[in-house]
Symmetry: C2
Subunit: 241 residues, 2 copies
Amino acid sequence: MTANTAEKIRLHELVIDNGRCASPFVWRVRYALAHKGLDFESVQLGFTDIPAQFGGKFKTVPILEHGETVMTESWDIVLYLDRRFPDKPALFTGAPELAMVRLTDAWFTAEVQRRLFRVYVKDVYDCARPADRPYFRASREKNMKGATLESFTADRAANLPAIRTALNPLRMHLEKFPFVGGSSPNFGDYIVLSSFQWVASVSTLPLLTADDSLRAYIDRGFDLYGGLGREAPLQPLFESS
Amino acid sequence: MTANTAEKIRLHELVIDNGRCASPFVWRVRYALAHKGLDFESVQLGFTDIPAQFGGKFKTVPILEHGETVMTESWDIVLYLDRRFPDKPALFTGAPELAMVRLTDAWFTAEVQRRLFRVYVKDVYDCARPADRPYFRASREKNMKGATLESFTADRAANLPAIRTALNPLRMHLEKFPFVGGSSPNFGDYIVLSSFQWVASVSTLPLLTADDSLRAYIDRGFDLYGGLGREAPLQPLFESS
């Protein structure tokens, strides 16, 4: 049974103490919904609320509900949106664009997002709702081979040069185009901007130098869709000049 | 004045002693011409032959001649081909695919091709036509801050782990798709395959381990267009198992 397209969409998100959304993957779906011009109801969950939904069927957000359809995994969700709402602006103009955006995701995840985790995981912990912190610590430290959040991030500033260098292909690209997707934003932009949103939600260590050429792009991206990326207070992404 | 599409295309290439083409950028154009099904006449030049063509107007290949049109720079050439031959299979289905392929080019150049240069520049020298070697050495060493080709590559194997790691996004992508472009090859594939062609033209140090999951993809890519990538003897890309 598939949902009538007129049925309400509910997006289960991840909320932290300052009211912002602390999941890059929820941000990807937020941008995808905005791109398609689809309204939705937001369900704001803390980390420990997630298993209480849907009888523990899902461990992570985003979770999209649309009539009888319930799905997690941001890629599954965005492909569903294009399939289910073909009359709304397409997220992917065709198979080649989709393939290339997936490669961009693989690149950005490996070279940038993975390193961002090493810098900002403790900031996420500090911003989580107090009730969520013990769970967050236990679940993250399980994959840290004996490290604590504190020891894992003790030397975190040492990761910044590699992250800044890894962003060079994006800087080069943005000398030619206003957006990752070319003249207008596509899902490649939403992948990149979602990571910056995640950082800007929690950061206590500016990611980029004051004069970084990415600044104009990030401003342009955060302004999209009526300032979707600015809806709650942002932590500084850039060092002060 | 623009060329009648029926006029002959001439591609000025870079030939080395074993008869192979030793320019990743010429390879990109070769693949682009094959993708579009366009015949062309090959003009095989050594490094020092290039300035003797067109009154010294160009310092690098590829150079494409089509009637009155003469152009260098592989990106300019492939965009010209799509513009000039709209009835032939498109290299780019639209602006978003083009933008995403350019980002892939920026990523692959920064993370992979730049490092390949450090490993294989001396092999290119050794494979160049003897008459071209003094020029090649002088022009390349000019950018090596006092190093010679020999000292620059003395510890070259130390670069292999970083290159192999940098290829992880490609490996992940190819778990989902047979080609960079998805179900069929696009210019993103030609960018990647052209670098492997360049290595396979000159390599005396295998780039990849015998069991690398990229092997099936590289075989598939080199087989494209009637085995375009296999037209002259290949040096081993993979360690023997």
